[in-house]
Subunit: 189 residues, 2 copies
């Protein structure tokens, strides 16, 4: 997706060789016009798949999922990462290991919001090690719903997230794929 | 806002006399069609105020803010509530006491995303004790920006959030105002 790549080059910056900071438009400040283009592109890539629900995880995925959902005309469900006092007792949950934080956390979705037969598009901002995506796939399958695909804004192809998701039998569509970021140079696939 | 009130009556439910659960359309599963109506209504109420930025706080505010921002043509910034490894060192921050969890947490916004002269609309899902809204107002003022108003989806008028925000000199616009919820009966203002 060209305008996304241009935006990453223009406003993103690399810290070390693994961290891409895109807080000015993706995950702290949000460029809603760009999000609309992202939403349209996800729709184009999954248009014939009869998606019935979009699943994401708090917090950065929520804005992307909501804007994209307008093009699919389906509800969004966001998995909870943090303790929520009013979360249902009946939840699907998965353990996710975060390399960045070197700890595991649970993601949870109330059972009533995923049904057998749902065709679920999982959306997230980044795909790196793939653990969050795998956790969400796991939750979709616990509900006997179908994980149709994982839609990612920025994939770090030098980490093994895609491999893990594809080994779980789910299609990955990433709008920008980065092969390397050494010495601050972002090289797209 | 009539369709919002009807939705609350139809799909919300009361736990005890203070907790209103609206997780099927507002803060776990998201009804994006309803969010568009909410966004339009915020625009109607703040249309002549030259808003330059929408500020919210993770996680439930993000979807509402993003959909609403489409009607204002401005970026969204969401304050971070949780430790974020890649957050800038230079942040505005405020301490927020949560009655629900009986503890305080910090909300943070990178300084580069709020500028002197910005006219900021603060958006959140609930107004109860007003502490989150006050924290966000504080952050806007630290940046020498102007808090134009606080736009709320559901206000619990039996708690003192509105009073606190108005005492801070900021206008509150709530789309549904609940006067009481005793014995499961939701009474709107």
């Amino acid at each position: 997706m060209e305008i996304l790549k241009e935006k990453i080059i223009k406003d993103g910056y690399v810290i070390g060789s693994k961290v891409l900071k895109v807080d000015s438009f993706l995950n702290h400040q949000i460029d809603v016009t760009l999000f609309n283009e992202i939403g349209k592109e996800f729709k184009r890539r999954f248009q014939d798949r009869n998606i019935t629900k979009i699943l994401t995880v708090e917090a950065s995925g929520i804005g992307i999922a909501c804007i994209a959902a307008q093009y699919f005309n389906v509800p969004v469900v966001f998995a909870k990462k943090h303790e929520a006092v009013d979360l249902d007792a009946e939840t699907y949950e998965a353990e996710v290991y975060s390399f960045t934080k070197d700890k595991s956390y649970k993601v949870r979705v109330a059972k009533k919001f995923l049904s057998k037969g749902d065709k679920v598009l999982i959306i997230d901002d980044f795909l790196a090690n793939g653990n969050a995506a795998k956790g969400l796939i796991d939750i979709v399958r616990q509900a006997q719903a179908e994980p149709i695909g994982v839609g990612i804004v920025i994939e770090k192809a030098f980490q093994d997230g895609r491999k893990k998701v594809e080994q779980a039998g789910v299609k990955v569509e990433s709008l920008a794929i980065i092969n390397s970021m050494s010495e601050g140079n972002i090289v797209f696939q």
